[in-house]
């Protein structure tokens, strides 16, 4: 029974990791930017939800569109007016600038919201139900369902719309995309905006499960990395699979090996995957 409970916990958490990593993977795959500011975007999403919840009493699930939209606008502007200026430079320069953005965001969050632990606690926060001996909190289940819905909407957007095609074309071959009349600067900004929106959605839900602080992003950036690489960059399904793998690995290792080891295990997993299968579990193309 314990085994099954651990399995369910891992899957429910894995969905959230998946949605974080889709955004990371998208930004990385399209623009070749490793977005160190991804964790702070998640943090920002959490704080937007925290505000709408405490100031106006909005339900955190129902305010999700607002959070997603604000993060999209923020991401769009950031890419359009700052990151686009440096996007073709060497890798450590783009890494550095997103790191600079990270530092600025974290410190602004300290000023706006202070370093106190915040929480989003709707009335149903502690409620759970039992199925055949398994205990499942409602919030976790709804978070999982929401991540699935948001991911599906996002996948449809990427696969079925003109915008999605333009983004994929830009990722494939920048110059050819530009020649066919795609406004690449705008597309890059939209791509970053979408990544930020997904991060924001993840943050909104993260805030219902865990405390919100200005520094919560650092560890989540690393986890998004791990998941994006685990699944294979640029593949959206890969990010979801990678999220589930990390969720399960953490859930199992903290139950059976010890609660202090999950991070060591996820990073060990990362390095091993990179060495033996650098294109990820579902990846294709070349990584070395």
């Amino acid at each position: 029974m314990l085994l099954l409970q651990v399995l369910v916990n891992g899957i429910l958490l894995g969905g959230l990791y998946g949605i974080m990593a889709i955004g990371m993977s998208l930004i990385w795959g399209v623009m070749n930017i490793v977005n160190i500011a991804h964790g702070p975007l998640i943090m920002l999403g959490a704080y937007v939800t925290f505000w709408t919840f405490t100031l106006w009493g909005w339900d955190p699930f129902l305010s999700l569109p607002v959070t997603i939209l604000s993060l999209f606008v923020y991401g769009y502007l950031l890419q359009r007016f700052i990151l686009n200026l440096i996007v073709r430079a060497q890798l450590f320069l783009t890494l550095l600038i997103t790191f600079g953005v990270e530092v600025v965001m974290v410190n602004l969050a300290r000023i706006f919201w202070s370093s106190d632990l915040r929480q989003v606690t709707p009335s149903y926060a502690a409620a759970n139900f039992a199925v055949g001996g398994l205990t499942i909190p409602y919030v976790r289940l709804w978070v999982f369902v929401t991540t699935v819905v948001v991911s599906v909407i996002f996948l449809l957007l990427m696969e079925r719309t003109r915008l999605g095609r333009a983004i994929r074309a830009t990722a494939e071959e920048l110059r050819a995309a530009r020649l066919t009349g795609i406004p690449v600067g705008h597309i890059y900004a939209v791509t970053y905006g979408l990544g930020a929106a997904l991060a924001g959605a993840a943050g909104a839900m993260w805030g219902m499960l865990f405390p919100i602080t200005p520094i919560m992003g650092g560890a989540l950036t690393l986890k998004s990395f791990v998941v994006a690489v685990l699944g294979g960059l640029g593949t959206m399904m890969g990010a979801i699979v990678g999220g589930l793998v990390l969720g399960l690995a953490e859930s199992f290792s903290s139950t059976y090996i010890g609660p202090t080891y999950p991070n060591a295990i996820s990073f060990g997993l990362l390095v091993l995957i990179l060495i033996f299968r650098p294109t990820g579990v579902l990846g294709r193309g070349e990584g070395r």
Binding site: V34, I86, L93, L96, V229, T260, Y261
Partner: protein
């Protein structure tokens, strides 16, 4: 060696001697600041070997620093080695670790390499957290040495050594080999360069100096814990210093460490809580306006609007 080279070496020696005399002139606070500055400069220069010359952006160099600190610390406190033995051991273990990890990881390129090194550093932190003999999460307390100048001269000597190695790389066959790998690895291999060996040696050299700096740091600060010596931010700081000064140049990282240490010290005293915010803004501005570093700025003839405008245009989409 040509006269110009001798002149440069002598100039370097003069600077070292001048700095060596500094503790007699400046305040105790300044000496502490200089020790820290030397340490960051060692880390930036050692990163430059792998990140600048070889072109492999390592985001895990703090692992070598931490391993050096912990090796020295454990040997000092648990085994009872004298510092004179514990310090070289710290450098040696960090070097061996770099070689062992580097051999598989250096096959990766670009982002994959960056993240593998980052993952390695984070994993080391977690491992040290969970080991008994390293003091786990509570850390290690060193005996206190009552002569702080020892650390000053040790850091200065290591800094001189690592700068010398960078200088040697800038004009030796081995160094040219590394640059060839950075410019085009396949072509370098075709030219007969044993690329895996070259890269591993560069990584090990980088690790050795970072490890030595870590060893001195441990005894200087007298207390280490996993979060302090395996902090990701240290890696990022030293990369920023190298980039700010100019990667792949001999004196660039040193210059970057000097300017940015001074700036962050000033920010910390003048702005207190806002210091980090401004540090972040500086990073953004530096990357946007002078991505090739101070040494390029100097070579191109100093500050001008045109220089900044050209940089802005260069990497724009």
């Amino acid at each position: 060696m040509s006269i110009k080279r001798w002149a440069r070496l002598l100039g370097g020696l003069a600077v070292v001697l001048f700095l060596g005399a500094a503790p007699g002139i400046v305040s105790a606070f300044m000496v502490q600041f200089l020790i820290n500055l030397f340490m960051m400069a060692i880390l930036a220069e050692s990163w430059n070997i792998i990140g600048g010359f070889t072109g492999y952006a390592s985001f895990g160099n703090v692992a070598f620093f931490g391993i050096g600190a912990y090796t020295t610390g454990v040997l000092l406190t648990r085994v009872g080695f004298p510092f004179a033995l514990a310090l070289p051991a710290g450098g040696a273990v960090a070097m061996l670790f770099a070689a062992a990890v580097g051999f598989p990881i250096l096959r990766l390129k670009g982002h994959y390499f960056a993240i593998a090194t980052l993952g390695t550093a984070e994993m080391m932190r977690e491992v040290v957290y969970n080991l008994e003999f390293t003091g786990a999460g509570t850390g290690l307390v060193m005996p206190i040495l009552r002569t702080p100048l020892t650390f000053f001269y040790l850091m200065l000597a290591i800094l001189a050594a690592v700068t010398l190695v960078n200088w040697w790389l800038s004009q030796s066959r081995f160094g040219y080999g590394l640059v060839a790998i950075r410019e085009d690895e396949d072509a370098a291999a075709v030219m007969g360069i044993n690329t895996p060996l070259y890269k591993t040696v560069a990584f090990a050299l980088s690790g050795a100096f970072a490890g030595l700096a870590g060893g001195v740091y441990a005894y200087w600060i007298t207390f280490i814990d996993p979060d302090a010596v395996f902090k990701v931010i240290i890696t990022v700081q030293l990369i920023i210093m190298a980039v700010f000064g100019g990667t792949g140049t001999v004196l660039g990282p040193l210059l970057g460490a000097l300017v940015l240490s001074a700036v962050s010290e000033l920010l910390a005293t003048q702005l207190a809580t806002l210091a980090e915010l401004f540090y972040g803004l500086i990073i953004i501005l530096v990357v946007l306006f002078m991505p090739k570093g101070l040494s390029d700025l100097i070579r191109q003839g100093g500050l001008s609007l045109r220089y900044f405008a050209r940089n802005l245009r260069e990497y724009r989409i």
